[in-house]
């Protein structure tokens, strides 16, 4: 299960926070599930949650996770840790800030789908 929180917008960046919860006793979850499986985009490692995207459908653009240094995404956590049963982890991914007049934006989460109109705060 995933809980999506309002996207925190700063002057130049916007950060998406999603809490992943293994609600059932049989559930397990790996952070690497959220990877885009393309080391040439976002993070070079296939363990980081760099598959998340902000989608501005009006402009027809997808925002990729911001990076620092040598293709390391501004994502937390970046390691492929596995969630055990009945536990949770909050994943944070930073993007470029969408235009100021935008009050909500779609968020794509790999394996979970698109969450429409997530508020930008």
């Amino acid at each position: 299960m995933a809980e999506v929180y309002p996207i925190q917008r700063g002057p130049k960046t916007a950060t998406a926070n999603v809490r992943f919860i293994t609600a059932k006793g049989s559930d397990t979850f790996r952070i690497g599930t959220l990877n885009d499986n393309n080391p040439e985009l976002g993070d070079k490692n296939n363990t980081a949650p760099d598959g998340l995207r902000l989608i501005d459908s009006t402009a027809g653009k997808a925002y990729l996770p911001a990076t620092i240094g040598d293709q390391e995404c501004l994502c937390s956590p970046r390691v492929n840790s596995m969630l055990d049963h009945y536990t949770d982890v909050t994943v944070s991914v930073t993007f470029a800030a969408p235009p100021a007049d935008l009050t909500a934006i779609d968020l794509v989460i790999p394996k979970f789908g698109t969450v429409r109109d997530v508020p930008l705060q």
Binding site: Y5, T13, N38, P39, L41, I55, A62, A66, I68, T90
Partner: protein, 190 residues
């Protein structure tokens, strides 16, 4: 360290541990201890220089289908163009839609100012390696030709590289991965 100073340190450590902090996304609660300790500096505490590097953040955008992506890099930018957007199967002839994609990329590149451009073509591992190498170079040259036309003469000459099936982005183990490997990468160093 004097006995009274040591006692104050022990007290401070105990209070820090007692004061648990729980930070959530929407709520942050701080359990405040009854008495705060007064920070003290022991006479023999080493003094160290604090260094905290500040690094630039690089941003990236892509089309909604992810087939064309442009990302900032430390010394410029890199664009990844999916070959299926640019060319037909086994062809180095740019599609009509590809011209629009490359012209749009040129507009983005122009915003960042002139730089040294390298266009590198890659293929998947299907067919012979020699054919892949030739095709990847022809494709890179086609993209470079259109870019030169769009950017104008004030830009340095573009370097064209064909890599064929070398340096795959991901292992060529299935069609999904092969699709990722059929690409043209445009890098700009400024």
């Amino acid at each position: 360290m004097s006995r009274s100073s040591e006692m104050r340190h022990r007290r401070a450590a105990r209070l820090v541990i007692t004061g648990s902090v729980a930070v959530g996304l929407l709520t942050a609660t701080v359990a405040v201890p009854a008495v705060w300790a007064t920070p003290t500096t022991p006479d023999d505490a080493p003094i160290m220089e604090i260094t905290a590097p500040v690094v630039d953040i690089q941003f990236g955008m892509s089309t909604l289908d992810g087939r064309v992506a442009v990302e900032d890099r430390k010394n410029g930018s890199a664009a990844r163009l999916d070959s299926t957007v640019l060319f037909g199967k086994d062809s180095a002839q740019l599609r009509l839609a590809a011209l629009k994609v490359i012209d749009s990329l040129a507009r983005d590149l122009r915003k960042g100012g002139p730089g040294k451009i390298t266009v590198t073509g890659y293929t998947d591992d299907l067919g012979s390696a020699a054919h892949g190498l030739k095709l990847s170079k022809q494709r890179a040259a086609a993209v470079a030709g259109r870019l030169e036309k769009s950017l104008g003469s004030d830009w340095p000459e573009i370097t064209v590289v064909g890599k064929g099936e070398a340096d795959p982005a991901v292992p060529n183990k299935n069609e999904k991965n092969r699709k990722l490997n059929r690409r043209v990468i445009v890098t700009v160093k400024r």
